[in-house]
């Protein structure tokens, strides 16, 4: 099955992301990469828990002073929804419906950008209201490192999806770019899963104590 062969919805394989050897390799390799990323974020979570509320003097803001659940709830909803829309995109990718896939990917990107905007507002708020920065305390370092690494992943994921959408806008789906779309969506799901843990460990646990 040549990678740039033309397909119709009838001839499009069931799992286009794994229909070529290259696709199979990428699929497996990317799962392994996500395994490594999981350990990376586990290390960041461990650091955060070790340094939570660890500040040099009592006048520094602590977790319970900083976080506001309404904003975090909005961010969670944005990111969870974007994960759902990327599932829709992959549904259409598997059905060889390029236009609909692009549409849903576009919605995913918009939701992701909205999430980023909220995060920038949030960080800005902590800085101006509380003087809570990356260098103000070990707690600040650990908080911004964990949440910032996640934010960096969001930026990278958005850049990746946008690049794929633009690059393939005029030529549609084939077995060469199907694995690329699939992996980008996998990455997006991973970012979402990490956020669920951040929401729980950082924000919810931060509010209760």
């Amino acid at each position: 099955m040549a990678a740039e062969e033309k397909f119709s919805p009838q001839t499009w394989p069931v799992s286009p992301e794994q229909a070529t050897l290259e696709g199979k390799n990428k699929f497996l390799g990317f799962w392994f990469f996500l395994g490594g990323e999981t350990v990376l974020f586990a290390s960041l979570f461990a650091t955060y828990l070790a340094l939570k509320d660890s500040v040099p003097s009592p006048d520094h803001a602590l977790a319970k002073d900083l976080f506001e659940l309404p904003l975090v709830f909005l961010m969670t909803m944005l990111l969870l929804t974007s994960s759902l829309t990327s599932v829709f995109a992959m549904y259409h990718m598997k059905n060889y419906n390029f236009k609909k896939m692009q549409t849903w990917l576009f919605i995913t990107v918009v939701l992701g950008l909205a999430f980023l905007a909220c995060e920038i507002y949030e960080f800005n708020h902590y800085y101006h209201e509380f003087g809570h920065t990356f260098t103000s305390s070990a707690f600040g370092s650990a908080f911004y490192m964990l949440v910032g690494f996640h934010g960096g992943h969001v930026v990278f994921g958005l850049a990746w999806i946008i690049a794929l959408m633009i690059r393939n806008a005029k030529r549609g789906l084939n077995l060469y770019n199907a694995p690329k779309f699939y992996l980008a969506s996998l990455y997006w799901h991973f970012i979402d899963v990490v956020w669920v843990f951040i929401f729980t460990v950082v924000y919810l646990m931060g509010m209760v104590g």
């Binding site: 497996l28 392994f32 395994g35 490594g36 290390s43 990356f134 305390s137 490192m145 690059r167 060469y176």
Partner: protein, 625 residues
């Protein structure tokens, strides 16, 4: 489908360009061998300087500050830039052939892994010329390294970060290659032991390197961007670095030793002419060592004060590792037992490895006893222990592997006579250097000490140790002469030069054609080539008719991506000094890296096909068969 004729540019510049852009695992193996070999020599020179300084009491061959830089760079270079890349050289050269694959799963990422390692190592070593090397020990404990002045530790942090990314890429590539690219009939339990150990070591890399990445990031932020992870005054905790370093560091030693075990597991059956004894238990032991390797990191931190319960748990887990290792030792002995042995150079290394490594293992179990470790900790006893396992295990395996796989990589055979001289010098020197250090340590000589006073009973031991180091250096020099001699003479020895090759890599011409296997072989059992030989055949039975072979195109992007990070690292480091050019350099470097990645992403690269007719031509000419 675009078809690109395989035209080689001629001349020196053509060769350089070919190696800068290659994605062929066999050429990447040679790159790893050369770069790793160079760093091995640099690390060796540093080792010699340490031993010269410590040869006599009150010596002032180097200053105390320079001594700290030398020991730090010796450890860091040897582990990250010599031992691991040299093992990667063999993994690249041998593993894809052993599983009957035409290529690795990700040729591009394989090349990227090499160049990241190379530029990381280069960056680290440039510290010598740019204001001083790191001086906080290869473990770079945070409370010490944060206080280290100058840019030494910055070089350590950024250099290891870059080369660590490369290692991670290499690990993922090997994992997917072994899972997805095996020849027909090559089931998991028919894979040669070197492939198995590569597999497990790669899994360890995948899960052990991210904690190091995080630790290095935090160290980088603390030193260069004002954060407070390890800074107690800011509420930080310096022990976090120790944990992350050893959560990485302990699996790291198994990343080194498992492939070494794999190389010996190939050598023993070949030169004893018997199949490996207890193959399935060897596989089991390899996987178990890999698993337990993650459960024992705190045995490096017994004296940190984690408390008796933590120490007891980690002590027991550590001792448990002796069990699968013991399984391996006995299996190797049983493999030789009753075999028809030829003592070639690789076999000499293999046989001498068993007692050497067992000695290192025994002192390891001694240190696993936490109360006893309070005595051993940070003494020369520890230095003796880890050199016994790393030199007596890994370095002997690397030297054995060089001799054993040289024909596979270059088609020539290293001289057996010079090889035996190297072996005799190196093996004698190794025991002379490190055996006595056990006793120096028990007599109270601390690790990483710059000099010692006369009249404390340490003179003779240190002198003997330094003389031993000279023997090892002489051995390495003779090895280099051997390499140069062999390559200048360039006598091609052809296929299966050891005559008793058992596995697939010996079933094809040496050095292998760039497409490895014209037809994928049909694997009918463990030691696939040996099975065919026993049935009177000289070649593998093909599993497919001759057809077009798909090959990847060369790429320059791996070099550029790595170069970008290398440039960016200078910017990150010098912005601390408020140099006006630092931030632009950082941005330019990152732009080169991400720009090259973007280029790679949007530029289609379908590779090319070698046509069936060209393959038939090769056979008719009788050239590559």
């Amino acid at each position: 489908m675009s078809t690109i004729a395989h035209t080689q540019k001629r001349g020196f510049a053509g060769t350089v360009w070919e190696y800068l852009t290659t994605v062929d695992h066999k050429k990447i193996a040679i790159l790893y061998l050369i770069a790793g070999g160079l760093f091995f020599l640099i690390g060796g020179i540093e080792a010699m300087m340490i031993r010269i300084q410590l040869a006599v009491p009150n010596n002032d061959f180097v200053s105390a500050g320079l001594f700290n830089e030398i020991i730090t760079m010796h450890g860091t270079t040897m582990i990250f830039l010599a031992a691991m890349p040299l093992l990667f050289a063999f993994m690249n050269a041998v593993m894809p052939l052993q599983i009957g694959a035409r290529d690795v799963a990700f040729p591009f990422i394989n090349a990227l892994g090499f160049w990241l390692f190379f530029f990381g190592g280069l960056f680290l070593n440039l510290s010598w010329f740019l204001g001083g090397a790191p001086d906080a020990g290869w473990t770079s404990y945070a409370s010490l390294s944060l206080a280290s002045e100058g840019h030494g530790v910055d070089f350590y942090v950024l250099g290891l970060q870059i080369s660590g990314f490369g290692t991670l890429m290499g690990g993922i590539n090997f994992l997917v290659t072994i899972i997805n690219m095996r020849a027909p009939g090559m089931t998991y339990m028919r894979m040669p032991l070197f492939t198995w150990t590569t597999f497990v070591a790669s899994a360890l890399i995948l899960f052990a390197f991210p904690p190091l990445t995080v630790g290095l990031f935090m160290m980088m932020f603390d030193r260069m961007f004002g954060s407070g992870f390890f800074d107690v005054a800011a509420g930080g905790n310096t022990i976090i670095w120790e944990h992350f370093f050893w959560i990485f560091g302990h699996p790291e030693v198994y990343i080194l030793i498992l492939p070494a075990f794999g190389i010996f597991s190939e050598i023993f059956p070949t030169f004893a002419r018997k199949r490996l004894f207890g193959y399935s238990s060897m596989v089991f032991a390899t996987v178990l060592i890999g698993f337990l390797g993650f459960m024992v990191w705190a045995h490096h931190m017994f004296t940190t004060g984690l408390g008796p319960i933590a120490n007891a748990i980690f002590a027991v887990a550590t001792m448990a590792i002796a069990v699968p290792t013991g399984i391996k030792i006995f299996n190797w002995i049983m493999t030789i037992w009753g075999g028809k042995i030829t003592f070639t150079v690789p076999m000499l290394y293999a046989v001498s490895f068993i007692p050497s490594f067992v000695m290192g293992g025994v002192t390891g179990v001694m240190q696993a006893a936490a109360p006893a470790d309070y005595q051993f900790h940070d003494s020369y006893f520890i230095v003796a222990h880890f050199h016994y396992v790393i030199v007596g295990g890994v370095v002997l395996a690397l030297l054995a592997g060089c001799h054993f796989y040289w024909p596979l990589m270059f088609g020539t055979m290293l001289s057996e006579r010079l090889g035996k001289i190297t072996f005799a010098l190196f093996f004698t020197g190794f025991h002379l250097t490190f055996f006595i250090q056990h006793f120096l340590g028990l007599m109270g000589m601390p690790r990483r000490v710059w000099t010692f006073l006369p009249g404390q009973g340490l003179e003779t031991g240190n002198l003997i140790s330094s003389i031993g180091a000279a023997f090892m250096a002489a051995g390495v020099i003779i090895f280099l002469i051997n390499v140069v001699n062999t390559q200048v003479k360039n006598v091609q020895v052809g296929r299966d030069p050891w005559k008793d090759g058992r596995t697939l890599e010996w079933a094809i011409p040496s050095p292998a054609p760039f497409y490895n296997f014209k037809q994928l072989p049909l694997v009918r059992g463990l030691d696939a080539f040996w099975i065919e030989k026993m049935e009177g055949k000289t070649e593998m039975t093909p599993a497919e008719p001759i057809g077009d072979i798909h090959m990847p195109n060369n790429a320059f992007a791996p070099f550029l991506i790595s170069l970008g990070l290398f440039i960016a690292a200078f910017g990150a480091m010098y912005q601390v000094d408020d140099k006006p050019w630092a931030i632009p350099v950082l941005i330019i470097g990152m732009a080169i890296t991400f720009g090259s990645m973007l280029y790679r992403s949007i530029k289609d690269d379908h590779g090319y096909h070698i046509h069936k007719e060209d393959l038939l031509d090769d056979a008719d000419k009788g050239g590559t068969r």
